[in-house]
Symmetry: C2
Subunit: 222 residues, 2 copies
């Protein structure tokens, strides 16, 4: 546990008392793919800040009717403060976090986190800094949704996945891709079919093989 706590970017700036408090209150929990963590503050109890020891989390916003917009995904070593939004008075929107790969999370409960940012200006500043970083990411997503053509968005997504692994094969269902590019499965299916007809990709069962990466990149830079 202490090894993980030391990875918190503000750990070295905490007083001994603060370190003690965090050590006593922090918990390490396992979550399975598909688990949903609510970032909102129903019943005054939100999730708390967490550090991803391993796994992957997708953060999204939900409409009243359940329509979902993916804001970003977090990986090993990332931290999330929006999950503690009820202790950040400036943040008044709720997010939903879905575990997209089995995860081990180091959680600092909201009440502990609230005390920490109240007593320690560095922890406080770190939290807002991280929120600002997420702000920037979210603006990029919004600009994609509001301004980009869909073929471009899909090409950007496929290329990003390829760059992450270095393998030109993407093992995701159309439903999963739709969630990530904020579209409907039918729209993704149609565009993938067109990409295949244009020789950009090949659709195999459960796998999309990128066949013409320069052409996909050209689509991106249009």
């Amino acid at each position: 546990m202490l090894e993980l706590l030391k990875k918190l970017p503000f750990w070295d700036l905490l007083s001994d008392d603060e370190k003690q408090m965090v050590s006593n209150q922090a918990v390490l929990r396992q979550y399975q793919q598909g688990n949903v963590l609510h970032g909102g503050c129903e019943n005054d109890s939100c999730f708390g800040m967490f550090y991803i020891a391993s796994g992957e989390i997708r953060t999204s916003i939900l409409s009243d009717e359940g329509r979902e917009i993916t804001l970003y995904r977090l990986y090993d070593g990332d931290m999330c403060v929006l999950s503690a939004s009820c202790v950040i008075s400036q943040i008044s929107f709720d997010t939903q976090m879905t575990v997209t790969k089995d995860a081990q999370l180091l959680i600092i409960p909201s009440s502990t986190f609230a005390k920490l940012i109240d007593s320690n200006i560095y922890a406080r500043c770190f939290m807002y800094e991280l929120a600002a970083e997420r702000f920037s990411t979210v603006m990029w997503v919004m600009q994609q949704i509001l301004f980009s053509r869909f073929d471009q968005r899909l090409a950007v997504f496929l290329l990003n996945e390829y760059r992450k692994t270095g393998i030109p094969e993407i093992r995701m269902t159309q439903e999963q891709i739709a969630q990530n590019v904020n579209s409907a499965r039918e729209v993704v299916a149609r565009m993938l079919k067109q990409f295949a007809a244009d020789g950009l990709i090949e659709n195999r069962r459960g796998v999309i093989v990128l066949k013409d990466i320069p052409k996909l990149e050209k689509l991106d830079s249009k």
Copy 2:
């Protein structure tokens, strides 16, 4: 000038040297309605942080083709840090600021602001805190655009304008309303016509008179 500087929320937390530096470098400038201030960092020179002594500023993002999305409007006493985005490494998107009412701005140039947030943790924390607050506002706008029906969005806007002044008359052109609700003038014109037909408003030359506020509110809460 000193009177204005004292209104900066972090002023009392600055050292005497820092106060001196800000006093020496800050400038007070007049802007006219329609002036555009670029928040971006072309040629490494962005605008700087500013405090609105008087006037009104609309902040928006622009697509490559010039499509514009209004993020929020700032008024007397508000501060803007996104206009100093090149000194905030976490913020990598550009915004455009349009003066919507003649304005007097107290500007702290980016280079001065950069030194300040580097030396003073309170000024630094304030800046990120303000960015987090804008994040929240922008998320609300995005949810409106992505999830709300247009009749609802227009009703929300008319009601907000009414609540600001207490007068059920809105003196704005359809073009101005379109900019604020992030739609096209034609779409606004059509919906206002429908609202008038439903008895919710009356369209007069240059003025929209709210005739049935409870019904508009009902539209909002649907």
